[in-house]
């Protein structure tokens, strides 16, 4: 059992473990809505937009998570202005702004000397390097995001499923869209320490996409996404510890492996599962849902078709 217990005697590892579990849980729930709404690219754009905040915090020797938080909140406010008149899904200008933000981070970095390992931590994550303040902030922000999602779940469901009906009932659909993106921004902020700025989108959408393959009900999907994220994160952390690989990268690869396993073998929609279930000899065992009866009118009583 020393494979399990050895790392657990390392306080850095334990902090990282608590951090990734909290992040994976929140990312699974928020990611469920991101995947169902088909706005994954916005999550990615948000991740890019926090990069300059992280870079500035790094160069100023500040806490990276706080830098990301400030950048994330500025971005959310900017988004509110940009999307004042239309649903965010349609807003290409957001993509323009967010990549510009990432470019800003790159330009700020350009003339500074920065250790290769430190840059790697910003881009690809460093969960075991999470300090106590990081973990506390992650848990506090994560609880806030989860509580908001749970309290407002009916509004998010209604405005995602039937936005016209929701607005006719008086729901502020645009405000809910912006709120969902702000919650996504907060999730990206707390997740970047675990898997890094580049990979953060994987923690949001991969477990949720896997869960979507496994269930077609909303609450099980959110729970499953959180669970799959936790499994991948904990496993990735242990593998990273023992093999001395990047924990962030390993977490994302394990998560991707789970996705492909579901894609192939999901009980109802897996490629292999369906191929087996759809063999002609298997199909012929099933009771058909409909049958056909052909009735032909005799030609002599068929009236010529009037124009």
């Amino acid at each position: 059992m020393s494979i399990i217990t050895d790392p657990l005697s390392d306080p850095d590892f334990v902090r990282g473990l608590v951090d990734v579990i909290a992040v994976a849980m929140v990312a699974g729930v928020v990611g469920t809505f991101i995947v169902l709404r088909g706005v994954g690219f916005l999550g990615d754009a948000l991740a890019h937009s926090i990069f300059p905040g992280v870079v500035i915090a790094f160069l100023a020797d500040g806490n990276l998570l706080i830098g990301a938080l400030v950048a994330g909140l500025v971005t959310a406010a900017l988004m509110g202005v940009l999307t004042a008149n239309q649903r965010v899904r349609d807003n290409t200008s957001i993509g323009v702004i967010f990549t510009a933000a990432f470019a800003l981070g790159v330009v700020i970095l350009a003339n500074r000397t920065i250790e290769g390992e430190e840059l790697e931590h910003i881009l690809f994550g460093d969960p075991v390097g999470a300090g106590t303040l990081d973990v506390v902030l992650t848990i506090v922000i994560g609880c806030g995001v989860l509580a908001t999602m749970i309290a407002l779940r009916r509004l998010f469901v209604m405005s995602s499923f039937d936005p016209s009906g929701a607005r006719a009932m008086g729901l502020p659909v645009l405000a809910l869209d912006v709120l969902l993106l702000a919650l996504t921004a907060l999730t990206v902020v707390i997740a970047f320490k675990a898997v890094g700025n580049i990979l953060v989108i994987a923690l949001l959408i991969t477990p949720a996409a896997t869960a979507r393959l496994l269930t077609d009900r909303l609450l099980p999907m959110a729970g499953l996404a959180a669970g799959l994220g936790i499994v991948a994160s904990v496993a990735g952390l242990f593998v990273g510890y023992h093999q001395d690989t990047s924990a962030g990268g390993t977490i994302v690869l394990i998560s991707t492996g789970l996705f492909f396993a579901a894609w192939l073998f999901a009980p109802r929609s897996g490629v292999v599962t369906l191929a087996i279930a759809r063999r002609p000899e298997a199909l012929l065992q099933l009771a058909p849902e409909a049958e056909a009866e052909v009735i032909l009118a005799s030609p002599e009583i068929q009236a010529p078709h009037a124009p």
């Binding site: 009916r154 509004l155 995602s160 016209s164 009906g165 006719a168 008086g170 077609d216 909303l218």
Partner: protein, 249 residues
Amino acid sequence: MASRTPTQARAANGATHESCLVLRDVTVAYGRRVVLAHVSADIPRSQVVSIVGPNGSGKSTLLKAIAGLVPLADGEITLFGHPLSRSRRRVAYVPQREDVDWAFPVSVHDVVMMGRYPARGWLRSSTREDEGIVQDAMAHLNITDLARRQISELSGGQQRRAFIARALAQEPDVILLDEPMTGIDAATHDRILELFEEWQSHEKVVLQATHTHIHGGSMIVLRRRAEPIAAEDFEHHAAEAGEHHEHHH
């Protein structure tokens, strides 16, 4: 019939003329395109009003304006003398097919229960009373056996039934339906016609944007080029509109 004064729609069954839903000079613009201009109508209770007209004449836009989905450039809409924006709960809206994300994972029961949230409060759990209303609404549309099914698994007619059950569960005074007869089976078509009669006898106001108006029923006829329009009954427009919008069965 170009008129800027509200016209009293003639009640098809001779019910009271007490004003319920009043449209006054309703004007809607998308950007700089005026797509509806000066639509006025004074609709009493117990009416089923068909909004008819060619594609692009603004049928759907008028319905959306009443539902509060598009802002009015001019004019006002009142329900029982109060601005409609203050009584959204009393208006049920059944959107066009294209406006709904049918792949979203919700069950038929979930959809019908959505009709209860405006009255119950969005943050509260449903009560036993809500559950009873939802069950009644589903039974009324003959979809009780589909309650646990995902909305994505249903046929077009069954999906329409679920949405109409949601409208019923809302217990509204005004029911707005955007193309309710499009893409459905004959049984659902007939059931919706029966419901129209039932709603009429329950003193509701029903407006449907449609290509298949109800023979002899009230209509709002829209034409292109943003002419002023008023609610009229069937006879005035039978000659010009009737042949294009004959009730298909």
